[in-house]
Amino acid sequence: MSKPIEKVMSAPDAVKRFVNDGDHLIIGNYTVGTCMELVFEIIRQGKKGFTLYSQSGILDVELLVAAGAVERLVATYVLRSGGRNGGSAVERALQDGSLQIEDYTNYNYNARLMAGMHGFSFMQVFEGIMVTDLFKKRSFMGEDKYRVIKCPYTGKDVVTVPAANPDVCIVHVQRADKFGNAQYWGAIGSVPAAALASKRIIITCEEIVDTEIIRSSPHHTIIPAFRADAVIEVPWGAHPTEVVGHYNQDKLMWGLFIMAAAGGKRLQAWMDEWVFNCQDRQAYIDHYVERFGSGRLQKLVAKPLYSAPANYGSAFHSTWDANGKDRGTGLTMEEIENLLEERGLLHD
């Protein structure tokens, strides 16, 4: 089924339409620029039963797990708040049996997405993993966490991971156009692979820009429009994480969250205040300003540091030269048509 051409909608609409209970849900962002507003909206709508993929899950994973939305987690790295005496929502959910986790290394996790993105059924990973408990201890994926095959060329054992094709990817980027061409720059991580491996893609961006801007800088586009399902302009959409060129990490809010994550009740109180009592990102930012002052937010705004423009220029942008002659044959249109007639190549 082809997707509609223009995909601009609200975050609540996008989540209603494209995120289903029980989905394999993947966080597209890696460590930075996390799609916080989409995470919040999924929690507000009470979606649940997810198999969640997150390569560097901190706030995103903690909140979705604390909300009881996640049954299974595929991860490489999780939060631990407050050292030995602290904890995390993930730890509490593992302890009470409400969550299962499948641990991969960063590369193994990414390899599953690379396979999925390119349509392969598996990807080769590094054989050293076989001596570790990542390979030996398996959770819900069982035998399919890793499988070992013989390389047909070298005859050596090759370790593989299965492709991952999540149902839906939520991802935040710097800019996109209304058709869903999404541009992201900075730490690339696994962001393009997470998005393109997925069946549906919901994009939030700091700004929606004219398609001309996208077309003049296609090297920044990580998701082409034909793969996108929804585009939502959400300024400050990744706060309290940072977005390159827009704002820095907010250490105040980050600190409040990290402290809250160490205890279940405190985390619930944080979520009540910042997720459930704020109906959307604007309300969240308004509440932040009310609590801490607009000055704190302004201090985070990035000063510009522009990339040098890449020159996409060409000697000419027309087949016809200044004298109206085709550059290849040196003929005018009239001469070409006469020639075709002469040679008997034209038909009624």
Binding site: Y30, Y77, V78, Y107, D133, K136, F292
Partner: protein, 275 residues
């Protein structure tokens, strides 16, 4: 008489000294980033600093918050992806990487995943992240430990050191010959691995620390190098660089977050934003 230093500074400086000019370096989260900046500023100007998020040849101007913090530098030479950062490690292009330690055993194998039953853990630690793949395929790996522990047996085997010791790692055929952890650096000393048995050996001890202080953290009889040395104290230039570049790193995590948080509260109180 050189300046007085903190143990965090001593640790960072010992790490920085492991970076050689022209090394291709993968920096992990935390103190290695400060060590990388120090090395580049003072003794390894041509070192190529990289992070697994895909940044190649970056020069941090402030301490990065994490391994994907491009806002800590003013541009960098190449923005590749995480997949490529690891495959270039697998192909042998990475000279040195740094890993933090949760638990470490006698042969430099590591646990950063969990304490207790893996499926219902007493403590859930962060996990592998890039660790298992980097220590497998980087030419050298330097381990750092603050708050981790030496154990007879790991509760979860996250990252391979020398496996059961001797030549087991090389013999397995799974890793580049001669790879594996080169050193462990703690706030008490610097450890190396015996060239034959691959057992961890105390090679250098920080000033004013006794062998007994080190032994009390280790549940087996620790091997001591016959050439046990005292760690060379930091130079003023090294100390000054760290304090200027990353005062919080000089203070250490606990003190820096205590004071940082107090500073936030003070600011908010002054603005009447909290009671």
């Amino acid at each position: 008489m050189t300046k007085k230093y903190t143990l965090d500074e001593l640790l960072i400086i010992a790490v920085a000294r492991e970076i050689h000019d022209y090394d291709n370096v993968i920096l992990g989260i935390g103190l290695p980033t400060t060590a990388g900046a120090l090395a580049k500023a003072l003794h390894a100007p041509q070192a190529n600093l990289m992070m697994e998020a895909g940044m190649i040849d970056f020069e941090p101007v402030i301490p990065p918050n994490h391994i994907a913090d491009v806002m800590a530098c003013k541009g960098y030479a190449c923005a590749t992806d995480l997949f490529t950062a690891f495959t270039m490690t697998y192909r042998g292009f990475v000279d040195i990487c740094f890993l933090g330690v949760g638990q470490i055993d006698k042969f430099g194998n590591l646990n950063t995943t969990s304490i207790g039953d893996y499926y219902k853990p007493d403590l859930r630690l962060p996990g592998s992240g890039g660790a298992a793949d980097f220590i497998s395929y980087s030419k050298r790996t330097i381990l750092t430990m603050r708050g981790g522990e030496f154990v007879e047996e790991l509760e979860y085997f996250t990252s391979p050191g020398y496996l059961g010791g001797g030549n087991e790692r090389d013999r397995s055929g799974l890793f580049p010959q001669g790879s594996g952890p080169a050193k462990l650096i703690t706030q008490k000393g610097i450890f190396e691995f015996d060239p034959v048995t691959k057992e961890i050996v105390l090679a250098s001890i920080h000033p004013r620390i006794s062998v007994k202080d080190v032994q009390k953290d280790v549940p087996w009889e620790l091997k001591i190098s016959e050439t046990l040395a005292e760690t060379k104290p930091p130079s003023d230039a090294e100390i000054n660089f760290i304090r200027d570049f990353a005062p919080a790193a000089a203070m250490g995590r606990a003190l820096a977050s205590e004071i940082g948080f107090a500073n936030l509260i003070k600011e908010l109180e002054a603005r009447g934003k909290i009671q």
